[in-house]
């Protein structure tokens, strides 16, 4: 079996999330170096605060100004910080119960080593220099020897409150299309199209994915298809895609390659967009050095008879 193809795949998304009243007050408070909790009807103070009581599901809004100092309830020493984590030097993950709170907040503790950390130790917030209204406005916690902080009620009202956050996410993958699609992609680079025949129903699938979707069995017999094919259906694209250097309008079509039992899709060129039609005979066009067809153009043959492709629509 030849080596399968692999390529880096980066998935990045900046989720824009809106905040409810309690989350908005909490994150705006962090920007102003104020830590707010929320009080439940039975008198418990939740930090970080939530909008609904986790026990009763009752809506809760009563904000409390809790301490920026607190006590570690559990910890874990992280000697190899990973991308995106609060500190790039070894640190402890901690759950901290801030003074005045009944629940604990997850964050990082900057400490010289695991021997300097224990459950029950006193810590305080180290504020980030630039604060925007996000959990990362707390840069981390640091060891602290002083007394408990005072806890007071707080209206949770600030000038210019934050109403949303942008939650950046990035994940890195190494994508592999597997055996069947690797064979297809490699053949395209040689200006050939290969499908795979189902051993049960004998249909030829292109691009092949290694399985027959009708029979649910593995396919492995390679079959050369095309290069020419028939337009089975099409649409006219009028909106220019970002980062895509194709003039609109253009035609995107389903193309049944000769010998294939499934239509694949591709762009139609070399003909005015309003002259593309069902049954048009087309062939692939590779650009210099291209690993796959750039588009399909008319072969000049007469149109295919509807009966020959009606099962492939």
């Amino acid at each position: 079996m030849p080596d399968v193809l692999k390529a880096p795949l980066v998935v990045e998304f900046p989720f824009t999330r809106s905040l409810g009243p309690v989350q908005s007050a909490f994150l705006t408070g962090l920007r102003e170096r104020v830590v707010l909790g929320v009080r439940t009807r039975d008198g418990r103070t939740l930090v970080p605060p939530v909008e609904y009581d986790p026990v009763t599901a009752e809506e809760i809004r009563d904000l409390v100004h809790v301490g920026a100092t607190g006590t570690v309830t559990t910890w874990a020493w992280n000697h190899e910080p990973r991308r995106g984590q609060p500190l790039d030097t070894p640190f402890a993950w901690v759950l901290v119960r801030l003074d005045g709170a009944d629940t604990a907040l997850l964050h990082a503790l900057d400490a010289p080593g695991p021997d300097a950390v224990r459950t029950g130790m006193r810590v305080r917030v180290r504020w980030a220099e630039e604060r925007t209204g996000a959990i990362t406005d707390i840069a981390c916690f640091e060891p602290y020897d002083g007394d408990d902080s005072e806890v007071t009620f707080h209206a949770g009202e600030f000038a210019d409150p934050v109403h949303g956050i942008v939650a950046q996410a990035r994940l890195d993958y190494t994508y592999s299309p597997g055996r069947a699609q690797t064979a297809y992609i490699n053949a395209l680079a040689e200006r050939r199209a290969v499908g795979e025949r189902c051993p049960s129903c004998r249909k030829v699938y292109v691009p092949p994915r290694g399985a027959c979707p009708t029979c649910g069995v593995a396919t492995s017999e390679q079959v050369e298809v095309g290069p020419a094919g028939t337009v089975t259906t099409f649409c006219i694209v009028n909106i220019k895609a970002k980062n895509l250097d194709i003039e609109v309008p253009y035609v995107y079509a389903h193309i049944a390659l000769d010998g294939a039992d499934l239509a694949l899709h591709g762009r139609i060129g070399g003909i005015p967009y309003d002259q593309v039609r069902m049954g048009l005979r087309v062939e692939p066009v590779w650009t210099e050095g291209g690993r796959y067809p750039d588009h399909y153009r008319p072969t000049g043959e007469p149109d295919a008879d509807y009966e020959t492709y009606k099962e492939l629509l």
Binding site: L27, W77, G84, G178, G216
Partner: protein
Amino acid sequence: MTSEASPGRREIAVVAFAQSDTLRSTAELSEVEMLMPVLHDVLAQTGLKTADIGFTCSGSCDYLAGRAFSFTLALDGVGAWPPISESHVETDGAWALYEAWTKLLSGDADTALVYSYGKSSPGSLRDVLTRQLDPYYVAPLWPDSVALAALQAQALIDAGDTDERELAAIGARSRTTDNPRAQLKGPVPQGDYLVRPLRRGDCPPIGDGAAAVILAAGERARELCERPAWIRGIDHRIEAHSLGVRDLTDSPSARLAAERAGAFERPVDTAELHAPFTSQEVVLRKALGLGDSTRINPSGGALAANPMMAAGLARIGEAAVRIHRGESDRALAHATSGPCLQQNLVAVLEGDPR
């Protein structure tokens, strides 16, 4: 759903189970190529064809593949043309089994094919799993799955519930398994800390794999399997999202799910627990009241093989095949999802009296 016999309630059983080897990398296989031999295996055990199956339900996760709607490609493996009655859950296949069980209970189908799969190898699993955390307060800090489990382990150690030596013994016992599908078998070094107090040996191997189960109702189950593993009850429960609200040394959701599934009505002889970290077995043993008379994870559990999205379904399957083989009469199967055992599903399986 409780295990109290309700009038007219259908009896439903696991009649077949299959799983793939769990491997660190399967780049040569697409997901459907990894899955298909498992589907063929489980169907062959019953003599059923995909066209005979009344309902199909699957579990997987787009974040593992890095692609939207990735489960649709895997449908090729079950012959989704002509159209079939099908559903999908974006989590472990144990929850797909729950959905299939309710479908059979409703009488809408007599048989169900449940499958799940996950390839962790394309991405960095510890980073990928951060995306299931609270996006406002937690995910921006990127705490990885091992770090969160380590916080739970330290809480257990502080509470006097366990120590590092006992945790190492749990890992060693789990990998002393003859399960041919396991990724880690036999002794492995306990290794260095990944995130203290958890060492490499306390953590599950990262692997790709798939599992499949066939369910059948009533007489159909007896036709398809000599000794069906009857599902006496299933329940699943969830705890608060925020870790700081929870007592990490306990699992009230697992206990409640077990109670509602009828697990405490009589002792179980076997328990298949989905505890990816050694410390989580300590939590579950306590929450489920499992003593020395119960065999825990003869399959090796998640510490021997933890294919994401399939490991929970595999626990139900492993418990069922022990009943099929007569090695167990009453077994508890457990699946988890989320950080620090946030979500828990418990099923109670029994064989006919011998």
